[in-house]
């Protein structure tokens, strides 16, 4: 537990991803099983159970501290676990431990104990710990660990430890479980790679490169196929031994949100496709799909109103046979035959688009631009391509429609992280429009971007921010409303969380309009027209 606490502290305070990787791999090398596996699970967020309830922590605190002082403290600290970690008053007749138990002992102990046993054990541990150790325990126990380390960084760390491509770890990852004994045996060179063929699991998807001018030379109607690039969410639908799961592109299991679709899966196959909403043969907009996103348990009414549907792009395996090695043209034949047998309200085949020349493709792309974001552009795929996880070169291309552009005014700036930590490099910008409360004309924030400019431009922007400071809100620096950015973005959505009522997808700074007066920047209506409200 001591080592685990120190690891979390080191990771929490380190900014650079590279340094985080070094810290984590050192820990994983030096720490024995099964502690390292549990630590890995805690950090990667794959623990499937709470050790104790948050409410228990609060209750214990209320029993031993004045509630008014506790409230003041919690309000000041801003967070329960840390407040408890810092303010925990030792029990009068505290049980002294000779040593703090190891991480796996702690986990095991909590899992074995009854409700009152859990309570007693938690008190003993808290009495014997430093504030940092208490924080680690409380975060571990209630799975609230946020130390700024992405699952991707964790996997890259493992890949580097074994000196394999990250794709290898990606393919294994979802088939493994804490405390990952088989994984570490393999990393240590003591066993073969774990076999996950009989686990219903996510396998990482194949991705496309943005097309470049020189690429068109190699594209012909004989060697390549074209399809729409739908703007839904890319999913993987997997069925095995009567079980079904739907995974997002990042491997999150989102089956519970789309139980209507899940119930339509009675096959043993892995499909790659786009999840959208379809009512009466009509594909809904991204805003329609949004009604379903993030709903853990959608009501029947909602599912009837916005039924989930998958436009299938590809098939990775069928009835236990791995199809990934076959060329796309072969997989496409199998997929076509397969989809015909499925419920057509739930599954349809991605249509192939006719083209001969580059001009034909350009026309298709233009047509996509007229769909209010429903279709993002054109996919161009090599017919001979096997299905390769990751982003292999010269296999699949995406040709997105031109981004939308708006002139927005810089409102707030924030320091970046890592190399950029001394620069104001994160910018929040807004458009003119009536304030929802006062109806006065003001700037309404529409988004935040931290790329799209060169290093030289960053220096100029940093200088500009420093010379135009207004108020400061914690790390957020307000600036004078004078600088205009041309902001590019792929699409916009209606959003209740933003004051402006809109949220942008993939916003970036396309140009800095040093010359443009702020009052000539765009108004919120321009964004409303793009969304189509």
């Amino acid at each position: 537990m001591k080592d685990f606490s120190r690891l979390l502290d080191d990771l929490y305070f380190t900014n650079s991803n590279l340094a985080k990787e070094t810290i984590l791999s050192n820990y994983l090398r030096e720490t024995p099983d099964p502690d390292r596996g549990w630590a890995l699970a805690a950090i990667a967020g794959t623990l499937s159970f709470d050790l104790f309830k948050r409410s228990l922590t609060k209750k214990l605190m209320m029993e031993r501290m004045d509630p008014y002082l506790f409230d003041l403290s919690r309000h000041y600290v801003g967070e329960l676990s840390e407040t408890v970690a810092l303010a925990w008053p030792q029990s009068k007749d505290a049980v002294r431990l000779n040593r703090l138990p190891d991480l796996h002992e702690v986990i095991q102990e909590f899992q074995q104990r009854s409700k009152t046993g859990i309570r007693e054990y938690l008190i003993i541990l808290l009495d014997n710990m430093t504030p940092a150790e208490r924080w680690a325990l409380l975060k571990l126990g209630t799975r609230g660990l946020r130390i700024g380390m992405s699952a991707r960084t964790v996997k890259r760390t493992l890949a580097n430890m074994k000196d394999v491509d990250i794709a290898v770890i990606e393919e294994l990852w979802h088939g493994l479980e804490p405390p990952y004994l088989d994984l570490f045996e393999w990393i240590d060179g003591k066993a073969e790679m774990p076999d996950i063929s009989q686990v219903l699991t996510y396998s990482p998807v194949m991705l496309a490169h943005p097309i470049e001018d020189k690429d068109f030379a190699r594209i012909t109607a004989d060697t390549h196929q074209a399809e729409w690039k739908w703007d839904g969410i890319r999913v993987q639908v997997a069925g095995l031994n009567g079980e079904a799961k739907i995974f997002s592109r990042t491997g999150d299991d989102i089956s519970h949100s789309f139980s209507d679709l899940k119930d339509a899966v009675d096959f043993e196959a892995i499909l790659d496709g786009e999840l959208l909403v379809r009512t009466n043969d009509k594909i809904g907009s991204f805003n329609d799909l949004q009604q379903r996103l993030g709903r853990k348990k959608p009501t029947k009414k909602l599912m009837d109103e916005y039924p989930a549907h998958v436009i299938a792009y590809d098939i990775l395996s069928l009835n236990g046979e791995n199809l990934r090695k076959f060329p796309l043209s072969e997989r496409r034949k199998i997929l076509k035959f397969f989809i015909e047998k499925q419920d057509s309200t739930r599954f349809s085949l991605s249509k192939l688009l006719d083209f001969e020349t580059q001009e034909d493709l350009a026309k298709l792309r233009e047509a996509a631009a007229g769909t209010k974001g429903l279709i993002e552009g054109v996919m161009i795929k090599q017919k001979s391509s096997p299905y390769i996880s990751g982003r292999p070169k010269h296999r699949w291309y995406k040709w997105k429609r031109e981004p939308f552009l708006l002139d927005a005014v810089l409102m707030y700036a924030q320091r970046g992280t890592g190399k950029r930590s001394s620069y104001y490099s994160d910018y929040t910008f807004g458009l003119w429009g009536p304030d929802p409360k006062t109806s006065e004309d003001s700037l309404l924030p529409i988004g935040k971007a931290y790329f799209g400019f060169t290093d030289e431009e960053l220096k100029d922007l940093d200088k500009w921010v420093r010379n135009h400071k207004l108020a400061r809100f914690g790390p957020v620096q307000e600036v004078e409303k004078e600088l205009v950015f041309e902001v590019a973005f792929d699409s916009a959505q209606i959003s209740k969380r933003h004051k402006s009522g809109f949220a942008l997808r993939f916003p970036r700074i396309s140009r800095i309009r040093w010359d443009k007066p702020a009052h000539e920047a765009d108004r919120i209506d321009a964004l409303a027209r793009i969304v189509g409200t």
């Binding site: 002082l69 003041l72 600290v77 303010a87 008053p89 504030p131 320091r415 001394s422 790390p475």
Partner: protein
């Protein structure tokens, strides 16, 4: 009226002794001022007459808070001075920084102690806190919440030493307040066996020299600005000290692979450490923590506690629970970030 209230008052947001016509730590220019210590929220410029310890007066001169027209009265700890109209002033050490003092005021058999800022943890760079029994104890409340339980300084310095050993290719840039914190951190590092020269930001120079003139020894140190900018790797593996605002600002770009660190009592709160963009947080406080505040108030045996600044509500509440009269003074101009 309870003790002290006939002759001590808050006038225009400033703590004032009526018969002596004298203010304590006023944040704006006044005729007569008692200054407990040299931090900017207690010592200001423009007073006509200043009463303080000789160290505090030296600090004020260094920071140009006094000029040739200021009438200075330097007192040693324990030295009694007649302020007129029957008021006697003497200073007791406060353990906060070099020269820091509690102002002890006596009038008609009553004793009021204005503690200024103080701490009870050991500090090799200043005299330890002295408990002075009194009728009214005027205390700060900077860290007056149960979440503030300051760890021993050695543990924090050990954290820094360990980090330097595990990450020898990084330059540890420690953000410290120029007066007090800087010197306490340097001294404690020396006591922990740190041998190489310190590299310091220009803003820390004069006060460090002033500490040295009072016999403090920090070993060898050099100004960062004396090292050519081209020698980026020169500082690798060393400790660089600078004001907290510089750890992540343009100034820090001159170091290869910097590791921004902040030493302050606020670092106990993780989010605050992250907000300062510190990669390492050293909990080093020059104020009393929750337990020490309560303990000190009780040890003075004062029937009345007046609270100047900080988390006033919490301390007032906790003291009242212990049966001690406590009230907030609503002084203006006290900034909690200064010196911490």
């Amino acid at each position: 009226m309870s003790a002290g209230e006939t002759w001590m008052a808050v006038r225009d947001g400033l703590l004032y002794c009526i018969p002596a016509n004298c203010y304590i730590d006023p944040h704006e220019p006044v005729g007569r001022a008692i200054i407990t210590h040299g931090h900017a929220d207690h010592a200001r410029s423009g007073h006509g007459e200043v009463f303080a310890t000789s160290e505090t007066i030296a600090i004020m001169r260094t920071r140009y808070y006094t000029n040739d027209n200021t009438q200075e009265t330097a007192l040693n700890y324990g030295e009694r001075f007649d302020l007129g109209n029957g008021v006697t002033l003497w200073f007791a050490s406060a353990g906060h920084i070099l020269g820091s003092a509690q102002a002890v005021l006596e009038f008609q058999g009553e004793r009021v102690v204005a503690a200024g800022d103080f701490k009870r943890h050991p500090d090799p760079t200043c005299a330890p806190f002295e408990v002075v029994p009194c009728d009214v104890f005027i205390t700060e409340a900077t860290f007056a919440l149960p979440v503030f339980q300051h760890p021993p300084l050695e543990r924090e310095v050990d954290k820094l030493m360990r980090s330097m050993a595990t990450l020898p290719d990084r330059t540890h840039i420690v953000g410290v307040y120029a007066l007090g914190k800087c010197q306490r951190v340097m001294k404690t590092l020396r006591l922990a066996g740190y041998k190489p020269p310190f590299y310091i930001h220009g803003a820390l120079k004069r006060l460090t020299e002033l500490y040295e003139s009072y016999g403090q020894d920090f070993g060898e140190w050099e100004l960062v600005s004396d090292i050519p900018r081209s020698k980026k790797d020169y500082f690798t593996g060393k400790v660089v000290l600078c004001p907290p605002a510089q750890i992540n600002d343009r100034w820090s770009r001159r170091f290869a692979n910097p590791l921004p660190t902040v030493a302050s009592g606020w670092m106990q709160i993780r989010a605050r450490a992250r907000q300062k963009r510190a990669e390492m947080a050293l909990v080093v406080s020059d104020h009393a923590d929750w337990g020490d505040l309560l303990r000190t108030c009780e040890e003075t045996k004062a029937k009345n506690i007046w609270i100047t600044h900080g988390r006033v509500e919490a301390l007032e509440y906790a003291l009242k629970q212990r049966g001690i009269n406590a009230k907030s003074l609503d002084l203006i101009g006290m900034e909690e970030e200064v010196g911490e």
